[in-house]
């Protein structure tokens, strides 16, 4: 048999929505439920609308030393996959074989206790992650140095700054020396320096032939780190291959969802809002749909809407949100002095952006409809993804880039 690090065959996980939603089952509910089903004829209906497949027949093989990115939108089954592979939860069907010492980082600082000191937490967290005491003893000084918390090892971590806390937590995790490492979104927390440390760490692991499975929303981190990407959608592995292809697919499959922050204000169901966006099209200046725009290009955004009631003075807004959740710019009718007396029924609105001077990254268009005072929000939906591409300009250059004018008064400092 050839040496594989991971072999997954038809991994499937079914969740009963009932147990997921009513987290605090009580005995009374159970008894009532039992009575109800006793009176309902025909026994129990296991397969029903109350169950969902979080993961459906996912199969793949990973060779030692591979760095595999797993992408997909929220709820696509990425975390479920990692939880099954790390044996936190059992698959409903299928099996997986894992060869080698497995480390999983589904969160940084699992099991940290605020009352305990840094030293105590290193031991506790290390043990939780699966390190032996002798191993922690040996790596202790290294961990403390890596976390840069030497003077505070014996201080309770509740007195730490959040930065120190995160550094310490990561330092412990980084010194776990597994053959296979599963990472879930850990990189999305922390600042840039922290993320660089993480990426450097993953590369180091790879150099010693460790296998890494890396779940992320951040296409660019995936692209920078991984030589292979598995794309999950609705619990199924849609694509497995080179990062460029998969990421392209991901962009295309994006559809409209309600923005998380707005969920309470506008409700989860777009159809019940007075107005909703039915389509967002991102077009080049020639009117063709595009997913990649060059730095400095103009974009045309065409919005289709459906208003179930008459809305006076609707204020359409379009924002571009970078993949790391930085809102980069916003265009809105109110500030541009464009007014519409009212809308009702369905129609379209078009926006031409100025040249996009955004840095090379993945962005999502977010469309909102407010009133002119920005007091009442009618809808807020996240839409299409697009890339801005440029050879040089990355997030290290900030959010946008514009050339500036430089002067050298009187040529001073030439001697």
């Amino acid at each position: 048999m050839s040496e594989l690090a991971i072999r997954a065959e038809n991994l499937s996980k079914q969740y009963r929505l009932g147990t997921a939603l009513s987290r605090h089952d009580t005995l009374r509910d159970q008894i009532m439920g039992g009575l109800k089903s006793a009176f309902r004829r025909g026994g129990r209906a296991e397969q029903g609308p109350e169950t969902i497949w979080a993961l459906k027949d996912v199969s793949f093989e990973v060779k030692p030393g591979e760095l595999v990115g797993i992408i997909g939108r929220n709820g696509a089954g990425k975390s479920t996959l990692l939880k099954i592979l790390s044996r936190i939860t059992e698959p409903t069907r299928g099996r997986a074989e894992i060869r080698g010492r497995l480390g999983s980082l589904l969160e940084v600082g699992t099991g940290f206790r605020l009352e305990l000191s840094g030293r105590e937490n290193i031991y506790l967290n290390g043990a939780i992650l699966g390190m032996r005491k002798a191993e922690i003893d040996r790596k202790f000084d290294e961990i403390v140095a890596f976390a840069e918390v030497e003077p505070f090892v014996d201080t309770p971590v509740k007195r730490y700054s959040s930065g120190m806390y995160a550094r310490l937590a990561f330092a412990v995790a980084a010194h776990l020396d597994p053959d296979i490492l599963l990472i879930d979104e850990v990189l999305s927390v922390g600042d840039l320096a922290f993320q660089r440390k993480c990426i450097a760490h993953a590369k180091r692991l790879q150099e010693r032939n460790a296998t890494v499975l890396f779940v992320s929303h951040n296409m660019f981190a995936v692209k920078a780190m991984c030589n292979r990407v598995i794309y999950l959608s609705e619990g199924e592995a849609r694509f497995d291959g080179a990062p460029e292809h998969v990421i392209h697919l991901y962009e295309q499959e994006s559809r409209l969802t309600t923005a998380k922050w707005a969920q309470e204000m506008v409700g989860p169901d777009p159809a019940r809002r007075p107005i909703r966006i039915t389509e967002i099209e991102l077009l080049g200046e020639d009117g063709r749909p595009r997913t990649v725009f060059d730095y400095g290009e103009r974009m045309r955004v065409r919005l289709s809407f459906e208003a179930s009631e008459r809305i006076a003075n609707p204020n359409f807004c379009v924002s571009f949100i970078r993949s790391d959740n930085v809102a980069c710019c916003n265009f809105n009718m109110a500030m541009d002095g464009f007014t519409i007396p009212f809308v009702s029924g369905s129609g379209t609105i078009e926006l031409s952006t100025p040249p996009l001077k955004l840095v090379s990254e993945l962005y999502t268009a977010q469309v909102m409809v407010w009133d002119t005072e920005f007091e009442r929000l009618y809808t807020a939906q996240m839409g299409r993804n697009f890339h801005v591409q440029d050879q040089l300009l990355s997030t290290h250059f900030g959010v946008f880039h514009e050339p500036a004018e430089w002067r050298w008064p009187a040529g001073e400092g030439r001697s």
Partner: protein, 295 residues
């Protein structure tokens, strides 16, 4: 047989005991079948985590308290004083010829341990939900650690008992060497009950409300404040079905050298523990697979 110029093998980083890929047997992840599954090797492999969880709970318990570990001793001592006043003096409950304070305290030792253990461990899985949903380890470790943590308090109280016996001039007899056996029985009793309660609590939070009441009832059903001799002869064996009867009687016999250990009662208690423990293990390991999903 090194060839000239052959590159040295890639040095393996020092990592704790990880085997090279080819040598290690693969870990298989699949839906578990069968009625009962107790993975003792995995439990052994994670023994250090067990140690650290106990260590954590002991450390955290008395942080930011004024008198710290003295609480461990104070609680049974206060109970003993109240019992001595209420049951010993007012109610004039017999104490098998031993000074009532010592009589009560000897029983309070295992009793306090037991009540703390089941109060703590019934909520242990729920209390460690963040671990269970984020890291793999044998879930049994959690209630196991929670039932072992109060042993530390028990040890401190035991020193107090020795002092008390010295004060009342009671010399321990050779029977004291059997104390570990009764301690083990107490531990297994606590574990058996904890396995049921902790696993039930994951699904039904009602357990959290029931346990304090259960502990209270259980105490009156155990010979903590009164001697077993008050229980009519013909009911003794049935009474022994409560494992804490066997434990407490054993403690009194081992420490105070009270004549005549009722072996029938002890055996009954041990049998009861065995049954509850076996059932608890089956229930726990069956429920275990869903903990991470519903906790």
């Amino acid at each position: 047989m090194k060839e000239p110029g052959a590159r040295p093998a890639r040095p393996r980083p020092i990592s704790g005991g990880a085997l090279p890929l080819a040598e290690a047997a693969p870990v298989v992840v699949e839906p578990r079948k069968g009625f009962f599954h107790l993975d003792l090797p995995a439990l052994w492999e994670y023994r250090e985590l067990l140690y650290f969880l106990i260590w954590r709970d002991v450390k955290v318990r008395y942080k930011q308290t004024l008198i710290g570990a003295a609480w461990a001793v104070l609680q049974p001592v206060m109970t003993m004083i109240i019992f001595t006043a209420v049951f010993g003096h007012f109610a004039k409950i017999p104490s098998d010829g031993v000074a009532y304070p010592v009589f009560a305290f000897t029983a309070l030792l295992p009793w306090t341990y037991f009540s703390q253990a089941i109060l703590g461990s019934s909520s242990s899985l729920v209390g460690n939900a963040h671990l269970i949903s984020k890291v793999y380890f044998p879930r049994l470790i959690v209630p196991l650690a929670a039932t072992m943590t109060p042993l530390v308090d028990l040890l401190l109280s035991f020193l107090t008992l020795l002092g008390l016996m010295l004060w009342f001039g009671i010399a321990p007899t050779w029977g004291v060497v059997t104390l570990p056996l009764f301690l083990l029985l107490a531990l297994l009793t606590a574990l058996a009950v904890s396995l049921w309660l902790s696993a039930l609590n994951v699904r039904y939070r009602d357990v959290g409300y029931t346990v304090p009441f259960l502990v209270q009832c259980w105490m009156y059903a155990s010979p903590v404040a009164y001697p077993v001799s008050l229980v009519p002869e013909q009911w003794r064996l049935l009474y022994g079905l409560n494992p804490m009867v066997g434990v407490i009687e054993g403690f009194r016999w081992a420490c105070l050298g009270k004549a005549g250990l009722d072996l029938g009662v002890t055996a009954m208690s041990a049998l009861a523990v065995a049954v509850v423990l076996a059932g608890g293990l089956v229930y726990f390991t069956r429920m275990e697979r869903t903990f991470a999903d519903i906790v």
